[in-house]
Assembly symmetry: D2
Homo-oligomer: 317 residues x 4
């Protein structure tokens, strides 16, 4: 946001110059319209955007008096907003994407309702392309020890061959209906969820970051996580680098301790293992079966992994 600096009619108040140029981000302009590939036949393209890091600071200046003229302080302002959940200045930036995704990904995508959406309509030629799985990429249910394993290649080859055959059948079924004169909206009904669709998707930065928080997470499904990572790392990081850094630090990678967990950690640091144990028990985090073994508790197990990260051993282990 570069104000041309004319005399304001309200001197000393909010900037009120006569002329303004739109904020532009050259790193984003360079990829505008370019298809960034995802999965075997999907993509994300930036169509347009509004605002940049300095627009966030400008909005904060209005609503929190937090702006700053000094160069180099934008980072502090943006981190401060992120830390204190002052989300409205981030809503002042907006981006419009053109995406191509399997319908199964799209189903999860549009559960985020705070965006504007125009989805490609009914069964056109475009609908006949489906997302395929190579033999090495069939994921198996995570065992207790870890996640992310794949089926042995030979088994995968069988499934991939069956997939290919099935998707071909689905195209034949569709084509037969169209040839018989059936309306497209009905002919489409048995296309597989792997069929690609396209959409325009427009969203403000605050809500986009929330989408990325949820969808870049390890718990998100692989396919949508591929899109989220691309949008974060290839688009948002270029568009608003300061906001992106603050989001990684205070959002995606933050360590959140519940009030109870903070009290337990405090006791452990103070070398009070019994105190820690007492808090954990009274909060329902810790209980023992008849044999004296701690019963399973997902909340405590997640807390224990936070403690491990901090290098602290829980007194009950």
């Amino acid at each position: 946001m570069k104000d041309a600096g004319q005399k304001s009619s309200h001197p000393g108040e909010l900037g009120a110059p006569k002329r303004l140029n739109r904020s532009t981000v050259s790193a984003l302009d360079e990829i505008l319209g370019t298809q960034l590939p995802v999965l075997d036949d999907g993509f994300v393209r930036v169509i347009d955007y509004m605002g940049d890091d300095s627009s966030i600071v400008q909005a904060a200046k209005v609503s929190h008096g937090a702006g700053s003229k000094k160069p180099g302080e934008d980072r502090a302002v943006i981190r401060n907003l992120m830390r204190h959940l002052h989300t409205t200045p981030f809503e002042m930036c907006e981006i419009k994407l053109h995406v191509r995704t399997p319908m199964d990904v799209w189903r999860q995508w549009i559960r985020h309702r705070t965006a504007n959406v125009n989805e490609y309509s009914t069964g056109d030629s475009i609908a006949n392309s489906a997302q395929t799985t190579v033999a090495s990429q069939w994921r198996v249910q995570a065992s207790k020890q870890g996640a992310g394993a794949f089926l042995p290649l030979e088994e995968g080859q069988l499934l991939s061959a069956r997939e290919s055959q099935f998707q071909k059948t689905s195209r034949d079924v569709y084509a037969q209906r169209i040839a018989a004169g059936v309306v497209k909206e009905q002919a489409r009904k048995d296309l597989p969820l792997s069929t690609y669709t396209e959409a325009y998707w427009k969203i403000d930065l605050h809500n986009l970051l929330h989408f990325l928080h949820v969808r870049m997470n390890d718990h998100a499904q692989d396919e949508i996580r591929s899109y989220a990572k691309l949008i974060g790392q290839e688009i948002v990081a270029k568009w608003v680098p300061l906001a992106w850094e603050a989001f990684l630090d205070y959002g995606r990678d933050a360590l959140v301790l519940s009030a109870t967990e903070a009290r337990i950690l405090s006791a452990l640091i103070a070398n009070s293992p019994e105190g820690a144990k007492t808090i954990a028990e009274s909060a329902g985090l810790l209980a023992f079966d008849k044999s004296g073994k701690a019963t399973r508790n997902f909340e405590r197990e997640e807390f224990e992994s936070k403690l491990r990260f901090l290098g602290v051993t829980p007194s009950w282990m």
Copy 2:
């Protein structure tokens, strides 16, 4: 909303009684939880609701000073709100539904973003049931003369048999993947769009009426229109009968004339066919090709059908 009538601490102002009972609608209570069937294996169930016709009037009394103590005037208040686009009082009523729909219907359903949604998650047993089409229900593309025709029965039988076979194959493909140990979220990827899913869907009355306006419309796809009609006629009509009547009259069944169309109609009523023609031409509604024939114009054709409804013949025909 029945106020128990105690003395208010702000006499003469908004009702401020000490105790209140929740508004209830016995006609809706009677079907609470009951599966109302749609399509071959879908349903809609009312889970809970908040407010009734009198809650709308109560809210209007607050925001527009439009309330009334006299019995029988609720109808006038509600019609007045509907006519003047005073939508916020309708937002004071809320309903929660449990629905079961093919995923292709659900895709269209959740484009309406103003609701709260919890969709049934990944590929469980439930996912294996798919919506089927009986031989007589394969719709053919509407010709110029009309819509709603079906394929001849013999052709339909071929398609239905193929559909049945294909859906069986899709279940086999899914089962094979699960048996091989593939994670459900990936195994699910080639299920057909006709596969049923379930969701809880919670929405306020204003936004529900907008949903019904769009989805009960003749342009909506048959399948989702079946759900919309059921919700409107079997649920909303029982829940808030006065709001429903006003919506039909001023929403779904209203006749909207553009400013230009109203001026043309006015000229036709005043027996000024040339005046009407002149307005239509200057507004771009009417133009002639070299042979003197009016060129096709969808906007004008829709206007002509409004005129036909009113019993007026356009001067250019």
Copy 3:
């Protein structure tokens, strides 16, 4: 939206060019940042925008297959979208304004919740300017015969003098508190509603048109109507001229007849005054008191004014 036209990796499908330039509207660029004055000390400034008329068509092409390459058909597409309540393509345009309004106007403004907002925070110097009323502009309650009358000048002069004195007192009260060390957020509590505030306000075109529909209306309060008119006529009309024209025709200036009203009009056009009367009576629009005089009914009176516009005399008058 000017696609640079490179070969798409999906030939025949949605445009997928390698590079894109942002859409720009030179008529809007010319006033970017300029304070457009409203009331005695308010203004509206355009800060940034996304999209133009052709972005609406582009989005429609995605979601309704309604796009067109032929020049001159954008207007038809946009009017078609507006007529059939296909609102999502209009959401693909976004605008950011900086506004300065009395707090009493702002209270009404932000009841429209579909925007992003950053309001100027607490009691700064800016807060001490209040909106003043010149002696000729004190509005009197509309009598039955008409609206818009003003107090006689001498009476207005008394009120304006009192206003000036009172606003000065309010500044003194505020200054006294600040001088005593009171926190600004509390010192501010008795500032008059006429005090100016400032905000950034960002909204998509669909929701902006809804805002303008409600706030340009004759029923809206004069002060906010001044802002709405300016935004419509000086900003939106320049930004998206085709959408603005369609909105005026099908939104602000449309003539909406309820289903009942349309049936009555049809009967009157068919020279069936008794039929018209019967419909009106059975719909509750028309009733008579003991002396045979039609009882007052706001809905019917509004309908009668629609009939007058069309040059039709109701049979019951």
Copy 4:
């Protein structure tokens, strides 16, 4: 949500009983409609509600497969949802309040846009009551050492007397305008921001908890914090006690460490003061002026107070 337990037509799937009773919370029913007083003349009243703790679990069962039949496990499910930001099940509960607040509080209140609102309209008798400040309650700007101090009583008495006189004048100004025949909407323009207004406010539980998070916070203004505390402690705690407990623990009272802060804490726990210092410096949290003194940095100061809570001394102090 008590299902009457009939045989489902989809055995083994989501509960699909024939009849259902609405969920009720007797602790909330007991205060339904009762004015809970806030400030000198404000209140909050519960008008209606939908759902309870078990509705959250029920919705989670649909969308995350996380439900449980075993008694006593609802708490674990709700805490799990809260911890993992699975917010949609909390949206399945809805509450409607009637509130009476000074306009200055209301301005802040409705910045939260995810609610349905009907505000009391224009300048009625109700508008003439203003919030007053007793002599002991004039807050002074927080010094570096602390917040929450008040003006000496004698000074406060002067300000309270002036307030009373000024508010009386404002009523006289209003009354004079009304007597002269000025329309209420204009006569109202100079009423002080302390004037009470009333509204119906309806919101889902997820968004209500976000509102409470922001407005119960120490940074929130005293007046709105009084309302937020009342709503949280007197209403939400009774309505959904398990969700309220989880919110306090993981929301309001949680300890959030940025990724950087977590790494520094980890180094401090590992007795690596130099390592901690290096991380802090490279992240821009720590810098020294020429005299070797750490320069002020709000982010670091807030981090230091988190460390103090945990009983850890930063190595740079």
